[in-house]
Symmetry: C2
């Protein structure tokens, strides 16, 4: 519920997360179709696993989930999929956590900007043109050509801070 209003904020504890996953997969499929990319079974599965929550997830966690009892997957299996998904903006890497999270803003080009709760682990992706402009201005002043950005704010989210049980 209220996905429009909350799309930029921390997801409510009771939100319909299955809808998040479904939307993410649908969008990814559309994006790949439109751009001649192959969202293979493996890539789709990795994307789905990344989207299992709004918490950034480690590559080796994914690897475990991909592995079946009899067949253990090797690191490149998951790293290659992660690389593909990152290259096409379907997920982001959280450098401060060595972890990966689904992109919430597939509809527009953007620099990744995250608020990440240390307690519950949830990450909220948040646009702010003021930040974008300020960075662009600084870069211009330096004569610096920007290629990648990492903005990760860690702390405690409202839910954890005010302890609404949940």
């Amino acid at each position: 519920m209220a996905s429009k209003k909350e799309k930029d904020l921390f997801p409510a504890a009771n939100h319909d997360h299955k809808a998040c996953i479904k939307t993410a997969l649908n969008e990814a499929e559309r994006y790949c179709r439109e751009n001649g990319l192959r969202l293979t079974e493996l890539r789709r599965r990795v994307l789905e696993l990344v989207w299992a929550s709004h918490r950034p997830v480690g590559a080796y966690d994914l690897l475990e989930k991909i592995s079946s009892n009899n067949r253990k997957a090797a690191p490149p299996t998951v790293y290659r999929s992660l690389d593909f998904l990152m290259e096409h903006g379907l997920i982001h890497r959280i450098a401060s956590l060595n972890a990966y999270v689904g992109c919430s803003h597939l509809d527009h080009h953007h620099a990744p900007r995250f608020f990440i709760c240390d307690q519950c682990g949830e990450a909220a992706e948040l646009d702010d043109p003021v930040i974008d402009d300020a960075i662009a201005r600084d870069a211009k002043r330096l004569g610096f050509r920007v290629e990648r950005q990492t903005l990760e704010i860690s702390g405690v989210c409202a839910t954890c801070e005010h302890g609404s049980t949940g």
Copy 2:
């Protein structure tokens, strides 16, 4: 030369880097003295090695430099010093590079904000109150209590872009 004017920008190729190192060590000594901290020989040496350049340096690079021919230092040796130096704001960690760089703004409290050149590897630490305010405003809107920040802009610096030989 011109250290005042350029203190917030990428250091000129011909700047007097020995002065940077000396200043950093002096400031660190003063800071530790005033705060009852022990800048031991090891910590001082690590700080000095981090300040060997304005390029973020990896822990294992430091480890090699600390090791002598006969005596190889072990990882905790350098990681503990790095932890100490980070805890007291004498250096910053660059999450996107798994590397460490001296703090250029010892004189005031600040969130670390870096522009990092992919080509020459140099990092410039840059304050921008507009960014600070924007992040604070976003955090407030989210009800998020900020504890740590990571802002790393990667790309190509002016010197590398315009290729002034160097």
